[in-house]
């Protein structure tokens, strides 16, 4: 009986093709076999993991309360990993009482300690993973290890440490980040840094102030933006010192923060900032003035309506529309500005607020205006086009606005 190889030899040059076809078939079978085996293994793995999770869930309270000693599972890597994942998942959605219990469990079982150790001693993606897990615990004792992660050579690890510190959301974490930025400058992209600082400085924005004075220009810009996000009434008059800072970011931050001060103290400074040379400073000032919703802010908001920047115009219009009670009179003043762009922005804001019908009704029932003025204003409202001869705004309104400014 001749072998398969003899048959091949008889085929001559065609044997090569046959060999190729056989190879292809073998390759397909091997590949499919590999995929099938892998899928079977994964199916078994996930079923097994789900079963173990279910078993852990059954004895959850005993585990968390420490009735089941942690020595029973801590040395088994897969068991420990599973429990840690479950605890961290539960921790992220827990109420304050439950989170205290879970954090206590993580500390007592050594999970936090282990992650701190890994975050300090591992390298590469293992360190990265440890930093993320550590941040998920939100345990303050993890802050030094996360802070060390900021000085890692790998940019991904630095970002993970930064995000982790942001997750801590406490002033201690902010101090670590700020000290690091003071030391090394801006070595991560600005947005994650800003994000982390906003999260950590929210509780006590004062931590930013000393660094704002000492940092270099690029870092000051970032810190200025952060200050703009977190500024609160607790900063009080300290914000005023930034209103005439050289850096527009800080002036913008001051403008934003001033919205939280007493309107009578803030309006004048904001009015000045609303005339700033830099558009985003004006924008911040106008937004803050709009937020104050104080009659003294009206002249600046009306001025903002004639701004060269459309975002400023839009925000000024939105601020004006918030004066719902005086909308008809404000509309009259807007028309008197004789600025088509300003009128357009105002009408856009009116429409977006769904106040068009209400404004028309108010104009019609305006007791002080003449019928000619009413018709003219309604025409402007309908066509969104300024008439050649605008109606003069009522004296009473102008006097009111001027006196309040």
């Amino acid at each position: 009986m001749e072998s398969a190889f003899d048959t091949f030899r008889k085929l001559g040059p065609a044997a090569f093709v046959v060999k190729a076809i056989v190879s292809v078939i073998v390759a397909v079978v091997l590949l499919l076999g590999f995929i099938l085996l892998r899928r079977t293994y994964r199916k078994w793995y996930f079923a097994n993991r789900d079963a173990r999770r279910f078993a852990i869930r059954q004895k959850w309270d005993a585990l968390i309360s420490g009735k089941i000693p942690c020595t029973a599972w801590r040395t088994k890597a897969s068991e420990r990993q599973l429990i840690e994942d479950m605890v961290l998942d539960a921790f992220e959605i827990a109420n304050s009482e439950e989170s205290v219990r879970l954090l206590k469990f993580m500390r007592a079982s050594g999970l936090v300690e282990k992650r701190i150790s890994e975050a300090r001693h591992h390298k590469g993606w293992r360190r990265h993973r440890a930093l993320v897990a550590l941040a998920r615990t939100r345990a303050p004792e993890g802050i030094p290890a996360l802070s060390e992660g900021l000085r890692d050579r790998d940019s991904e690890t630095r970002l993970a440490a930064l995000r982790g510190l942001g997750r801590m959301a406490c002033p201690e974490a902010a101090k670590e980040i700020l000290n690091w930025v003071d030391d090394v400058g801006l070595v991560v992209p600005a947005l994650p840094l800003q994000s982390a600082l906003v999260q950590t400085c929210g509780e006590r924005p004062q931590v930013l102030l000393p660094h704002l004075h000492n940092a270099d220009k690029t870092v000051r810009e970032v810190l200025g933006r952060v200050l703009g996000e977190v500024a609160s009434s607790s900063l009080g008059p300290e914000l005023l010192q930034f209103a005439d800072d050289d850096l527009p970011e800080l002036r913008a931050a001051a403008a934003r923060g001033l919205a939280y001060l007493n309107p009578s103290a803030a309006v004048n400074v904001l009015g000045e900032l609303a005339k700033d040379a830099v558009w985003f400073v004006r924008l911040r000032a106008i937004v803050s003035l709009g937020g104050l919703c104080h009659p003294a802010a009206l002249p600046s908001l009306l001025h903002g309506l004639t701004d060269s920047n459309r975002l400023v115009r839009l925000r000024a219009a939105e601020g004006l529309v918030d004066f719902k009670a005086d909308l008809a009179q404000i509309f009259e003043m807007v028309v008197a500005l004789q600025d088509q762009y300003g009128l357009h922005a105002f009408l856009t804001a009116v429409e977006n607020a769904g106040l068009q019908t209400s404004l028309a009704a108010r104009i019609q029932t305006s007791p002080r205006a003449s019928s000619e003025t009413i018709q003219s204003l309604l025409e402007v409202l309908r066509t969104a086009k300024l008439s050649p001869e605008p109606p003069a705004p009522q004296e009473s309104i102008r006097v009111k606005a001027a006196s309040q400014s």
Binding site: I35, P189, A190, L191, P192, Q194, R310, E351
Partner: protein, 480 residues
């Protein structure tokens, strides 16, 4: 003559060798990048990103022309995406059906004076509508000039977010797709100016209310072959090119761009045939000329599902159009070739596209002719020829199998193992006669371009609601 044929055949052999070695290199790079990306994903907490106070808003631009059957579901799904701040702008591109009235009724649209700054060229706008049901929805009603780019430009003019994402109305985005595609941008917003996600084949999947219920492989061979093609193009090609910051295409069906930059280059070119490729090339040019440090990223996990042609006629039209689009972009940008000013784009990415994409059908046909002539003149070594064909077949198959294997080892969207088995089998079967047909369609595209035939030929599509619709016996609709 014999010497010429011999030289031509040798040149052909080296051309194939170079092309396959390039793809093999891309496969290796893509496998390494995927492994790193998966490890990176393990450490990413999407809930942290979502909760970040600095998440940049995104405007989704949805050009819609005669999409009455599924526009409402598509818009609802987009508004329901898992991302903190989105604005959806639907551009009704002169629809002649009930697209606008249906939306007006469903979303209670009212005419508004929203900000519209005509920075990018576009046909006249008839009106802007804001929804009373969801203020995040804005509809731009414009006249049609038969160009998707023109419609996208109109949306771009009305966009108010720092990032725009163009989405086809008949595509389905996964719920967390925006969050995932924004990861590289949020990590480095100054450098990353655009990011593209992966586009996968919708055909065959079970869909409920415009959302994927179960991923299945399509039944028709022509659709399965396209699945292999898409896996190869995205999981190997784009992954590898993006690794070297040489990504030349961010898919028109799903990509995020920085709004100011798109506006700075004048938006989409209104009558570009391959508007997505054209925009990315112009962005590269603009940024390289300004010597900006930038990146255009590809993110393989955010998924956009899109329907692919299921009949040969539509597929032929699509591929001819792609080839026309390729030439339409490469020719005006030929001055970028081998200019040090344009870095790797000019020295590597564009030459590759010229040689292995644009000229490939011409070289292949020339190759067939020279091999045939060599056979006629008796100058062909049969054993060499067979080895050559088998070598090409083996190499090509290996790349396709590599992409399927990568899918299986990483993202694993096809849960049914029979689907994977079919995919593997089609890796071996796609070479005859599909590749030859593909070559002819691409040649047709080039021929049409040189004849000046730029007409848009509608593809036969059924839309993402069609699976339910099919059960109810609805007929296919043609959409452009």
């Amino acid at each position: 003559m014999i010497h010429f044929l011999d030289a031509a055949n040798h040149a052909l052999f080296f051309y194939y060798l170079l092309s396959n070695v390039a793809y093999l290199a891309m496969l290796v790079i893509a496998l390494r990048t995927s492994a790193a990306h998966l490890r990176h994903l393990e450490c990413i907490r999407f809930d942290w990103i979502k909760a970040s106070p600095m998440v940049p808003p995104i405007t989704l631009l949805v050009p819609a022309h005669n999409e009455e059957k599924f526009i409402c579901t598509a818009v609802r799904n987009l508004l329901d995406l898992d991302y903190p701040e989105i604005e959806v702008i639907v551009i009704n591109d002169g629809s002649t059906d009930e697209t606008l009235p249906i939306m007006q009724k469903e979303f209670r649209l009212r005419l508004v004076r929203a900000v519209y700054v005509p920075q990018a060229m576009s046909a006249p706008v008839r009106g802007l509508y804001r929804s009373d049901v969801d203020v995040r929805l804005l509809v731009v009603d414009k006249e049609s000039v038969g160009s998707k780019a023109d419609a996208v430009n109109a949306g771009l003019n009305a966009a108010s977010s720092p990032y725009v994402c163009v989405v086809d109305a008949d595509s389905v985005l996964e719920r967390d797709a925006l969050l995932r595609i924004m990861v590289p941008i949020m990590a480095d917003p100054k450098r990353v100016v655009a990011a593209g996600g992966i586009v996968r084949v919708l055909n065959g999947a079970d869909i409920e209310a415009g959302r994927i219920r179960r991923v299945r492989l399509a039944k028709k061979s022509i659709e399965v072959i396209q699945v292999v093609e898409y896996l190869r193009a995205f999981l190997i090609g784009r992954e590898a090119w993006a690794r070297g910051n040489m990504l030349m295409i961010v898919s028109g069906a799903f990509g995020v761009f920085r709004t100011d930059l798109v506006r700075a280059v004048g938006g989409y070119r209104p009558f570009a045939i391959g508007e997505d490729f054209d925009l990315v090339t112009r962005l590269h040019r603009h940024l390289l000329e300004k010597r900006t440090d930038y990146r255009i990223e590809f993110v393989p996990d955010p998924v956009c599902w899109t329907e692919v042609p299921s009949d040969l006629r539509s597929l032929a039209r699509q591929r001819a159009r792609w080839q026309k689009g390729l030439l339409d972009v490469l020719w005006p940008n030929k001055d970028m070739l081998f200019r040090p000013r344009y870095g790797r784009i000019g020295c590597l990415a564009l030459p590759y596209l010229w040689l292995f994409e644009l000229l490939a059908p011409v070289i292949e046909v020339t190759g067939f002719v020279t091999v045939l002539l060599a056979a006629v003149f008796g100058a062909l070594s049969w054993s060499f020829s067979i080895q050559f064909v088998l070598f090409g077949y083996g190499f090509g198959t290996m790349i396709s199998v590599g992409s399927v294997l990568q899918e299986e080892l990483t993202y694993k969207r096809y849960n049914d193992w029979q689907d994977v088995a079919r995919l593997v089998c089609y890796c071996f079967l796609e070479h005859f006669p599909y590749r030859q047909l593909h070559m002819i369609w691409r040649l047709q595209g080039l021929w049409q371009y040189f004849r000046g035939d730029m007409a848009w030929r509608p593809l036969q599509r059924r839309g993402p609601q069609s699976v339910d619709g099919d059960k109810a016996g609805s007929s296919p609709v043609a959409v452009s």
